[in-house]
């Protein structure tokens, strides 16, 4: 988004004004129109044919249409990845560190043997990374593994495969 804004900055307009000998307003509108065309096309991921049909109504020359199409195809991926960053998101998994502990005693109980797994879960949200220290006992650990393996297995099930295939 910042890149697009940069493109639209007046500084550039002034530069082009000198080169092309047309008003700053016209250049600004031109750039804005171009930006809108590219972002909307990338957002909707329209096919080449659809793109060509859409710009045909504008009545530009064939050569201009061809360069516009090329511009669209060249930048589509990058624009889509930038737009992807703007979507609402939850903190996402980054990594996990773990360690085995055995508690031998505490203030309230002496002579224990209590195994525990201590973990540091690293999560990332936008640019910030957070780390959360968590603990669990061996039985819960095995339960967690079983549940999450089930979750992974779901993607391979027929139901999910069918939906993914049909939604492309």
């Amino acid at each position: 988004v910042s890149l697009l804004r940069q493109l639209a900055s007046k500084k550039h307009f002034a530069f082009f004004k000198g080169k092309l000998n047309i008003g700053v307003d016209i250049i600004q509108h031109g750039v804005e129109g171009l930006v809108y065309l590219l972002t909307e096309s990338s957002k909707l991921m329209i096919s080449e044919v659809d793109f060509q049909d859409s710009i045909h109504v504008l009545g530009f020359s064939d050569e201009l249409n061809k360069s516009l199409l090329q511009l669209y195809l060249d930048n589509r991926k990058e624009i889509r990845s930038i737009l992807g960053e703007l979507a609402p998101k939850l903190p996402s998994y980054h990594s996990l560190e773990w360690r085995l502990d055995v508690q031998l005693a505490s203030r309230s109980l002496r002579q224990q043997i209590k195994p525990a797994v201590t973990m540091k879960l690293h999560l990332k949200q936008d640019e910030d990374q957070t780390a959360q220290v968590l603990q669990t006992d061996p039985a819960t650990l095995l339960h967690l593994i079983q549940q999450l393996e089930q979750a992974l297995g779901e993607m391979k099930m027929n139901h999910c495969r069918r939906i993914v295939r049909n939604m492309k």
Binding site: K43, L44, M45, R80, L83, G84, L86, A87, P88, K89, L90, P91, S92, Y93, S95, L96, W98, L100, S106, R107, S108, L109, R110, Q111, Q112, K114, P115, A116, V117, T118, M119, L121, L123, Q132, V133, L134, Q135, T136, D137, P138, T140, L141, L142, H143, L144, I145, Q147, L148, E149, A151, L152, E154, M155, C160, I163, V164, M167, K168
Partner: protein, 152 residues
Amino acid sequence: VLDDPDLKDIDPTVLKHCHAAAAMCILEAGKHKADVSAISTCLEDCKLDKERIEQFCTEYQVFKPELVTVVSFSIGRSPLHITDVSWRLEYQIKNNQLHKTYQPSYLVTLNVENSGSGSHPDVSFSCTMEQLQDLVGKLKDAAKSLERATQM
């Protein structure tokens, strides 16, 4: 204790002291996992009569396992304890910024308990299939070394 009809004739302050003393005694016994002989020796030193000591010890024997569990798990500080996990698999089709995204993702919630100060908000995060595989791999490593440790 204060509402018990059998005890209403006793001064509440004394009752509170007795209750506190009894609780302290029981917790200390639990802390050291004391057996009956140790407790009765201790109570004898406090000049309690035989009958009362026997009654106390019998009750103690009955509740000892429960007491040890309480003392071991409920009291004391520890990092947030994971009790359960929920997951959700979703397939994103579009959002208001981008159409035709077609991206599967997992939403994992770790149910967490904080021993003592009540509940704590659960830890939720999203991840791709590869990231979930990484997470499960690491958890399995932890489980494997746990198994090895128990075999030593």
